[in-house]
């Protein structure tokens, strides 16, 4: 306990900072940031802070222990899409608790992301196989929102003119609530049906398979009828049940969705877990979210990368298939690895044991004169206790068991991997219903018949690829995970200077509590008395986030920044509707905005109007005033990012927000760049009405290779009634619900809680200062080599800077992609490419990098500029030089004759200081076009890797 946590989190110490400040000509961090942040928005002193003074790592963990102890983990039989599961320890230790996996970024640089791309393609193959569909994506945020995306896909893909979407009356209640909120915003009419009569005309239909009641039925005829009328059939399928039941693809479904939680991912009081979506052949281009595909590298070897990226919001903006960006990569990888570890036989054994446990429980209840609803089921039974259901649920709770309350007369018991392999536990969970324990020798001999119809028995094979049939021993599994992790570049190797992504430290002490059973083991619908510690933690964190942003209320429900945006815009929509301002539908969005803003606005039922930016990258005030005048009383909102996506503190922000308010609009401030503001300015103080924050950027939740994220939505009091969870209803009736679980992804909230607790207000402010100092230092040192686009007051940037590679490209033909790939040879992850300006690199060093690493990056960039000049001078041909050929694999410099005009050493050891720890990319530059023209999104046959 030698140093305060702040000094562990911030990479630059006092000596380093003073040398950096000297480069910039400032005498203190405070004077630098004060010069950069416009006076008009600078924060005043806060009267009574709710953020306690910084705790040490040990103290914070002790407090988290105390909060954890206030939770009670009872045995859940609550079901409804969340089931207890056994996380294989080899996966927990080597994936969930391994920074090589959890500190990686979304695999936009595929050459240095082959490990997690392979892991994701395993997930996609698993989902496609189990659901019987052609192509699966690399995860959705949860099952409920995946169903919503299925509905939206159906509307895009259907030829029907109908405005109606049919909803299974036996769907999960949280799914129904999400469909209601989201359909309402985009003008879709929902019709709930039990599918027991003629199928009404509709552009699509949603079927829960098995149903929330546990019922298993054959929906093939309904699916056929939906499709015959031009509709699209969406089926939510339980992946474990699909090892035994005919999968949706074979029943004729167009789209399959669901959750992979029960594949080894703890319930975590609601999340995070990976949802999934898979489609039949022909609908691939309609898929939302990220999709991993196979392509080839410059040597013709198979290589993975994200496929069909033009579907996504960063390119297609308001015309994107969805607003989803951050997904649930880390959790998808865990679920995929669960299938790799258990294999098809293992999964089927688990499913059979779960099913057998439910069947036996039903038989034992009947033998004890308890009525069990007579219907085919997989893992869930309904028990009739006329008039006593609430009392039975309470009795069970007192005995440490959670039953689902269906209605006054019925309770629901869902069995899972944990109950299936613990006969004593089954005795315990049935005892509250008056079932006597069974003697040990009798347990094995109980073989009542399965109620599943033989016609739905699965006949097709699945998970036949060798990857699912190889790693049965823990040694093999451990080595496979290490083999994949070694291919990737994560924060445990070096700096990831991705602008707008804030790849800061995810401290080990922040991660500690995530896997504690008191946080990991709770079902999202557990009774309040079981979740006191969690709700205390959530309430404290909400209060802290409200204080640092200047808002009144915070909801932690959104599972990603995109969902926080949507929640914020839906709150604005709700506010205008409540004021009878139904005509307020126009959302003003600056041209520099992230594409997600526009995609989210469309999903909130708004019409996007783009506001121009001036040559300095700022919102063009004249154009803003013109657009406001043009749309006058129809303006719903302005979305503005602060500091701007250009990494600049816009001087005029106050005038911008004032102009929108004067027109009756609401101001949405995108909090993606909050890391440049904490302690120096607050959104709520300079005109923001509502914002989302990214806990996975500013508040240290790791990126996990592309998720999980948490995107809290924070608002002023007048919008607070329209936030998720604020309506005073149950979660299942919440008109502003945006996630399947009430608190989104609670099990990762201890990370952000610990960060704020260990930094305190002063530490958060110091982190902002260090981040702004680092970005300005990079800009100052690289300015002579690459033009730095955009600056604010006093020529300063905020927490990131944009290097303009276009002049270099014009002069030499070397573009930002060549530089990005060459950085790999130097041992770096590239900065953000071509966002927000095409042909540029945006660098965000964050506060966590030390000066040695920052200088190493700067020196690499300068060395690369010198290499580019050699190309310009003609010493190296434009099509054969170290940049054009980057990245260089070990194989590429060893195999065969070396016939390039630069040396092997130049190729792979361009600077001598690197010899100590060389990162070797596993593949050469990947051909993006080849993979999109030859789309293949499942595990490739092993033979394709033979040389």
């Amino acid at each position: 306990m030698s140093a305060p946590f702040q000094d562990r989190h911030i990479g630059t110490d006092a000596a380093a900072q003073s040398s950096m400040l000297a480069t910039l000509g400032y005498d203190s961090v405070e004077s630098l940031v004060t010069a950069a942040v416009p006076d008009a928005i600078a924060v005043g002193p806060i009267d009574s802070s709710v953020i306690p003074p910084a705790a040490s790592e040990r103290e914070a963990l002790a407090e988290l222990r105390a909060l954890a102890r206030k939770n009670t983990v009872n045995q859940s039989l609550l079901g409804l899409g969340y089931y207890d599961t056994i996380t294989p320890a080899v996966i927990k230790r080597n994936v969930l608790e391994n920074p090589s996996w959890y500190t990686a970024y979304t695999p936009y640089q595929p050459e240095i992301s082959q490990g997690r791309l392979e892991a994701l393609i395993n997930f996609q193959t698993m989902v496609a196989d189990l659901t019987g569909m052609a192509t699966a994506n690399a995860s959705m945020l949860d099952e409920g929102t995946a169903v919503v995306e299925g509905m939206l896909l159906a509307r895009r893909a259907s030829g029907s003119a109908s405005n109606v979407f049919l909803v299974d009356s036996d769907a999960f209640p949280q799914t129904k609530a999400l469909l209601r909120n989201r359909a309402g915003a985009v003008g879709i009419s929902l019709v709930e049906t039990a599918f027991d009569g003629d199928v009404p005309e509709a552009f699509g239909a949603f079927i829960q398979y098995p149903g929330a009641s546990g019922r298993v039925w054959d929906p093939a005829a309904v699916i056929e009828a939906v499709k015959a009328a031009g509709g699209v059939a969406v089926v939510a399928a339980d992946l474990l049940a699909m090892t035994l039941l005919t999968p949706p693809g074979e029943l004729g479904a167009d789209v399959a969705v669901g959750s992979s939680q029960r594949f080894g991912v703890p319930m975590g009081f609601g999340g995070p877990h990976a949802g999934y979506m898979a489609v039949r052949a022909g609908l691939e281009r309609q898929l939302p979210g990220r999709l991993v595909g196979v392509s080839q590298d410059a040597a013709g070897h198979p290589a993975y990368r994200l496929a069909l990226q033009t579907r996504e919001q960063h390119i297609r903006r308001e015309k994107a298939t969805s607003n989803i960006c951050t997904a649930q990569v880390l959790l998808a990888i865990m679920a995929g690895m669960y299938a790799v570890y258990h294999g098809p036989q293992g999964l089927k054994l688990i499913a059979e044991r779960v099913h057998r446990t439910a069947v036996n429980a039903g038989a034992r209840l009947r033998a004890s004169q308890v009525e069990v609803v007579d219907q085919p089921f997989f893992d869930t039974i309904l028990v009739r206790v006329p008039g006593r259901a609430a009392a039975v649920v309470e009795q069970a709770h007192a005995a440490g068991v959670l039953y689902g309350l269906v209605d006054d007369d019925t309770v629901r018991l869902s069995f899972d991997e944990v109950t299936a392999f613990d006969a004593g536990l089954v005795d315990r969970v049935l005892a509250p219903l008056g079932v006597a324990p069974v003697a040990g020798e009798e347990k094995g001999s109980w073989r009542p018949a399965s109620p599943l119809p033989a016609s739905l028995e699965r006949e097709s094979s699945y998970l036949t690829h060798p990857v699912f049939n190889t790693h049965r021993s823990e040694t093999s599994m451990m080595r496979y995970l290490k083999y994949l992790a070694d291919k990737d570049y994560a924060l445990d190797r070096g700096m990831i200077p991705l602008g707008s992504c804030t790849m800061k430290l995810n401290a080990a002490s922040e991660m500690e509590a995530v896997t504690w059973p008191e946080f990991a083991g709770l079902h999202p619908f557990a009774p309040d008395s079981d979740t006191v510690g969690y709700r205390d933690l959530i309430s404290q964190l909400e209060g802290w986030l409200a204080e640092v942003t200047g808002y009144d209320n915070v909801s932690l429900q959104p599972n990603a920044g995109s969902q926080g945006e949507l929640a914020g815009l839906l709150a604005i929509r709700g506010y205008h509707l409540a004021n009878a301002d139904t005509q307020r539908v126009v959302c003003l969005i600056p041209s520099s905005a992230h594409g997600t803003n526009a995609a989210s606005a469309v999903l909130a039922g708004m019409k996007v109007v783009v506001v121009a930016c001036d040559e300095l990258g700022n919102v063009d005030l004249d154009d803003l005033r013109a657009k406001i005048a043009e749309h006058a009383d129809t303006i719903a909102a302005l979305m503005i990012t602060y500091p701007s996506t250009h990494g600049v503190y816009e001087h005029e922000v106050r005038n911008i927000t004032d102009a929108v308010h004067a027109a009756g609009g609401q101001v949405y401030v995108d909090g993606a760049n909050l890391n440049a503001l904490l302690g120096y300015a607050r959104y709520g103080d300079f005109g923001g009405d509502v914002s989302h924050l990214n806990l996975h950027k500013t508040f240290c939740i790791p990126h996990g290779g592309g998720g999980p994220g948490v995107g809290p939505v924070a608002a002023k009091a007048h919008l607070a009634p329209f936030l998720p969870g604020a309506a005073g209803t149950t979660h299942f009736d919440d008109p502003f619900i945006v996630s399947a679980a009430k608190y989104g992804s609670p099990s990762i909230l201890p990370i952000s809680w610990a960060y704020v607790r260990m930094m305190g207000s002063e530490g958060l402010k110091a982190a902002t200062g260090a981040a702004v100092l680092a970005a300005n230092y990079v800009a100052a040192r690289l300015r002579d080599h690459y033009p730095v686009l955009y600056a604010g007051d006093n020529g300063l940037v905020a927490h990131e800077c944009i290097l303009d590679l276009r002049p270099l490209q014009a002069a030499t033909g070397i573009d930002n992609n060549d530089v990005a790939k060459r950085l790999v040879d130097y041992g770096f992850h590239a900065p953000t490419m071509s966002f927000p300006v095409p042909g540029t690199l945006m660098v965000e060093p964050t506060e966590s990098e030390d000066l040695v690493e920052i200088d190493r990056f700067i020196d690499a960039m300068i060395a690369i500029k010198i290499e580019a000049d050699e190309v310009a001078s003609g010493r190296w041909p434009a099509d054969d030089n170290p940049l054009h050929n980057a990245p260089h694999t070990a194989q590429s410099v060893i195999v065969g004759e070396w016939d390039h005009p630069y040396s092997r050493e130049k190729a792979v050891y361009p600077v001598s200081g690197q010899v100590r720890s060389k990162y070797w990319p596993p593949v050469r530059r990947i051909d993006q076009a080849w993979g999109d023209r030859n789309l293949f999104c499942a595990c490739p046959p092993i033979e394709s890797f033979a040389d």
Binding site: T310, I315, K319, Q928, A929, D932, R933
Partner: protein
């Protein structure tokens, strides 16, 4: 390959070859270069009516999406299936095998000449 100097052009970087009452439409080499490697082309159905200036199809590359605007009013007389199955034709031969649609037009708006278009793209 059509002679680029004799074609007509739109501000959306499309070329138009007028033969009788049929207009053949494609995107210019400049547009194909800016888009990058084209990986997917979506064209309107033969027989569908199109209105000048409206979006009737899409040209996707690995990094961006271009919209295909109808340069004339009329009815789609043909769509280039070869380019649908091999979108790289848009890059390799934009003025020839990479043509996109033929439209039987009812009226022909004023289009740009080669010289005017060259000035627009600064070449």
């Amino acid at each position: 390959m059509a002679d680029a100097t004799t074609l007509q052009y739109t501000a959306e970087h499309e070329w138009v070859l007028v033969e009788g009452d049929t207009a053949t439409v494609g995107i210019t080499a400049y547009a194909a270069e800016k888009l990058g490697d084209v990986v997917f082309v979506e064209l309107p159905k033969v027989g569908s009516d199109v209105a000048s200036g409206t979006v009737v199809g899409e040209i996707e590359s690995t990094k961006s999406v271009g919209e295909l605007f109808a340069p004339v009013n009329g009815t789609v007389a043909a769509a280039n299936d070869a380019v649908v199955s091999d979108p790289s034709l848009v890059n390799s031969d934009p003025f020839g095998e990479g043509w996109l649609i033929k439209v039987a037009f009812t009226s022909l708006p004023t289009l740009m000449t080669y010289a005017e278009y060259s000035e627009l793209v600064g070449e």
